[in-house]
């Protein structure tokens, strides 16, 4: 799908971004570890590591990644996410933002603004 979309963008995979919410964020997280293509960035909302994998695959360089998590998320709490993704959060390209009044959803204007700003920031130089 990334290849297909990048063909519409002069084969520039760096102009393709991945994003995901909850279960979709885990697939995005996993994909950003195994993809050969250099994508523009990844955005994970309410991210976690699913119990179906023991560990994420090793990768030297990850795409620029924004992780947004709600402090009021009671489906996957921020503490659980911190434990699940402790090593991941320490990677240099990964930026984590916790939003105080956000639950397990995207009905939060601040989260949506940060989401948009991240994409604008990453596309400003391209």
């Amino acid at each position: 799908m990334i290849i297909q979309e990048s063909k519409l963008l002069n084969n520039a995979t760096s102009r393709v971004f991945l994003g995901g919410f909850s279960q979709g964020s885990f697939v995005t997280l996993y994909a950003s570890h195994v993809l050969q293509e250099k994508i523009g960035g990844a955005i994970l909302i309410s991210a976690f590591k699913s119990k179906v994998v023991d560990a994420l695959p090793e990768k030297d360089e990850l795409p620029p990644t924004l992780v947004i998590h709600g402090a009021k998320d009671n489906v996957k709490t921020i503490d659980e996410a911190e434990i699940d993704l402790k090593h991941y959060f320490q990677r240099p390209n990964v930026r984590k933002i916790v939003i105080d009044d956000m639950a397990h959803d995207l009905n939060n204007a601040q989260a949506r603004t940060i989401f948009t700003s991240f994409l604008r920031e990453k596309t400003a130089t391209r």
């Binding site: 979309e5 963008l9 994003g19 279960q23 979709g24 995207l106 949506r112 989401f115 994409l119």
Partner: protein
């Protein structure tokens, strides 16, 4: 109660949003900025809906025209009559229909992205959820969260992306 940004959706033909509910709400709320979205249905078939959307924001008088394609495989939002420069592929969460994200990406905070972004929101297949897939309930899901053997499936999706 004051709402700073209020999104108002009008759909001609197939109703995308509950227009009457919004009208009732707006009578009781003070709204500082109203965004009005006019939908015009272009093509109707059993499998594909395509809409043009004109958004008019009373605060900034911005106008934007989008193409919204809704199929059983997902939703695609893209600028109309203008090539997109970037693409965002967004994967939804467990048991969520993609339509839930239409509101999100058409919200005032994110609408500006659609000036140069194509946004693809694929719909996960419906799959039985529970031990060994015996559950009678089927949900939209990228993988079975209770089945460790499903990891192969996640790899397939990751490579599909």
């Amino acid at each position: 109660m004051v709402i700073q940004n209020f999104s108002y959706f009008i759909s001609k033909g197939k109703s995308l949003f509950c227009q009457k509910k919004l009208e009732i709400q707006s009578q009781f709320l003070r709204i500082d900025k109203v965004s009005v979205y006019f939908f015009r249905q272009n093509k109707t078939s059993k499998k594909k809906f395509s809409y043009q959307m004109n958004s008019v924001s009373s605060g900034s008088c911005q106008q934007q025209t989008l193409n919204i394609q809704i199929t059983e495989k997902g939703i695609t939002l893209l600028p109309l009559n203008k090539p997109h420069k970037y693409c965002l592929i967004f994967l939804h969460g467990f048991a969520m229909p993609v339509s839930k994200f239409l509101n999100v990406f058409l919200s005032p905070e994110m609408l500006s992205l659609l000036s140069d972004f194509k946004i693809c929101i694929p719909q996960a297949p419906k799959r039985a959820h529970g031990p060994q897939g015996k559950s009678v309930k089927r949900f939209y899901s990228w993988y079975d969260p209770d089945d460790r053997s499903t990891v192969n499936y996640i790899q397939k999706i990751a490579y599909f992306l």
